[in-house]
Symmetry: C2
Amino acid sequence: MKEIVVQKFGGTSVANLERISKIGSIIAAAKNCGLFPVVVVSAMHGTTNDLLKLAQDAGCGAYCAEALQEHDAILASGEQVCAGLVALKLQSLGLRARSYLSWQLPIKTDATYGDAKIISVAQDAIYEAVSQNEIPIIAGFQGIDNASRITTLGRGGSDTTAAAIAAAVGATRCDIYTDVEGVFTADPRIVTKAKILDRISYPEMLELASLGAKVLHPRSVEIAMKYNVPLRVLSSFTDTEGTMLITENTPIEGRVVTAITHSAECVRISILGIPLTTGSAMMFNLFAEHGIDVEMFSQNISKNQDCLDVAMVLKKQIAQKVHALLEGYKELIGYSHIGMRDDLVIISVVGIGVKSHSNVTKDVLNTLSNKGIRVDMLSMSEIKISAAINAEYAELAMRALHSSFGLDKE
Amino acid sequence: MKEIVVQKFGGTSVANLERISKIGSIIAAAKNCGLFPVVVVSAMHGTTNDLLKLAQDAGCGAYCAEALQEHDAILASGEQVCAGLVALKLQSLGLRARSYLSWQLPIKTDATYGDAKIISVAQDAIYEAVSQNEIPIIAGFQGIDNASRITTLGRGGSDTTAAAIAAAVGATRCDIYTDVEGVFTADPRIVTKAKILDRISYPEMLELASLGAKVLHPRSVEIAMKYNVPLRVLSSFTDTEGTMLITENTPIEGRVVTAITHSAECVRISILGIPLTTGSAMMFNLFAEHGIDVEMFSQNISKNQDCLDVAMVLKKQIAQKVHALLEGYKELIGYSHIGMRDDLVIISVVGIGVKSHSNVTKDVLNTLSNKGIRVDMLSMSEIKISAAINAEYAELAMRALHSSFGLDKE
């Protein structure tokens, strides 16, 4: 069996023909090493936004199923063009290469237009290409549904395409080329001492991705984790090694906390006096029905022991909608008071280590308290400790935690 | 059976969202008249050229089969985007509409990438859409070959798509919307008295199209003629009736000459002293092999009765290539002399009438002679009389012929 490496190039890596030349040499180099590259490309940087703008302006603004289908057919053209251009570039370097669109493989998805999930990737055409010494350049971000209509996978979907293809063909590695050099211990624009991790576990990466570290699409990490695809994040602009995603079972000597991350622009909604008989189930039914994601949640029995008090932190952009929704269902939920607090940020300490080190929580709270930062809400999961704090203190908190957990660059 | 009208919109008719709105109302109007529109669209004006430029710059400049396949996959995205936008626009007008790509119907072609011929159009999906009261918006200019790769039909190919679909579904009419108001009796930029023809026969239109009147792609006229599809050329910018293509059997009362047209930038190549035993067959074999089109051709026995003299008129852009080719085969063809004359133009008088009116040739020659214009070469076909003349006299000749055959506007 030939050693396949899936190479995925994001929008900035194919932004223009000069960049496409550069990735041409990256692909050629892998080929020259005896690996068999299978390439996945995004649209050229900016293209998808331009197409989306066109589509929005052409339509009536309402997002019925029919309109979403057209949006997807329009958006998918961006990767189609880019795949062709990369194939041409490789041909001009004397390599055999051809583009594949999702219907030509096919890559099957469900019918959730604009945010489809991959159901299957047919490997035959890819194996055939590789056996013919031909480099397949696959248009990312898209698939077809059962009705043979084009679907798209949502923003960052090309990462997902790459991971799914790597899983389907049993690739040795899946390299995600981007415009950052790898996964940082914190946002380097905020924490100047942040450094690049050479390794990170899948679950940690998943937490980082969900928390807004926009390096990898969460779904691509889920797929890589599920099918045990060795995934690497690296830059197409520099020659550095990037960050390798590894299984949780490989312990990283002496490391408790891997990274500090934050989720900006959050809002807390408090709902007081919910009857114990109703509980919070009603609320979560509502949230599920309306596709509302809650970042943090806590509930307590009230002082008088006769009702529940609930608090949740969620993204600012959906806060008004959720507030209105809860007000609309006031009688049904039966609460007595609703309140909202703006200008919060969630700071999270992520690491496989935190679950078995109860000291970490103590250290987080002490570090913040030493800087005079009040923790509005606290939550702990297996690999993450999150604190909602006043947004004004976000940078200070991140830098303090980054230092106190020993992540600063030497 | 429902009355289907195929409506094809060219690049300038879908140049921007404002224009797409306009054609949205044209389609809606047809629907409101009780017709069932089946729409074919080109890419937005300029898109195909931009994509072609990108593809050319990405490749090595050599046009191997693999590169042409990628060119086609890249170019086809232009119509894909446009079909989606038109569908969205119709949806926003409250109509049911969806885009179709050639692989979704499918439209099958041969594998001549960049210049493919349509082999078949599957009607099922179109009939199904119409029966569901849904307007199909079909991406023109493209198809798929047996290997399921995207092909394109060459410039003007969307006209061909429209005619082929009209033939396949038995459309009542095929309306080709463009940026001109119809077919003129001559190029109105040259002959200011030129007027729009309300009717023209297929064969006449075919001659005009081949002779560079860029209103309709010749292949679309051939298909319309072959399958007897009533084709209409009209403007999406004005509310005029346009020009209807009719069968040759419908005589147009009293009209002998329908239009005057010209083919600019031509060159004459003379080859003298070809042995009678070889003849011109060898030359035409060469031309066929190299895909060379000759506009006009004549041969005569030479003065000494021992060899052939040949003269041909062809497009300037291929003249050097043909000249070099003929020089390379000088010994094989066995001619004694080759000469080239630049700066010619072919003026043609087109009309179903000319074949049965020998007076027309006389009138052409007299009209030109009265203006002191020398005819370098003359050829006659069933519906066309062509004269190669010095390019300096082109406009004068056209205006004189337009007047003398009674085509001037009142």
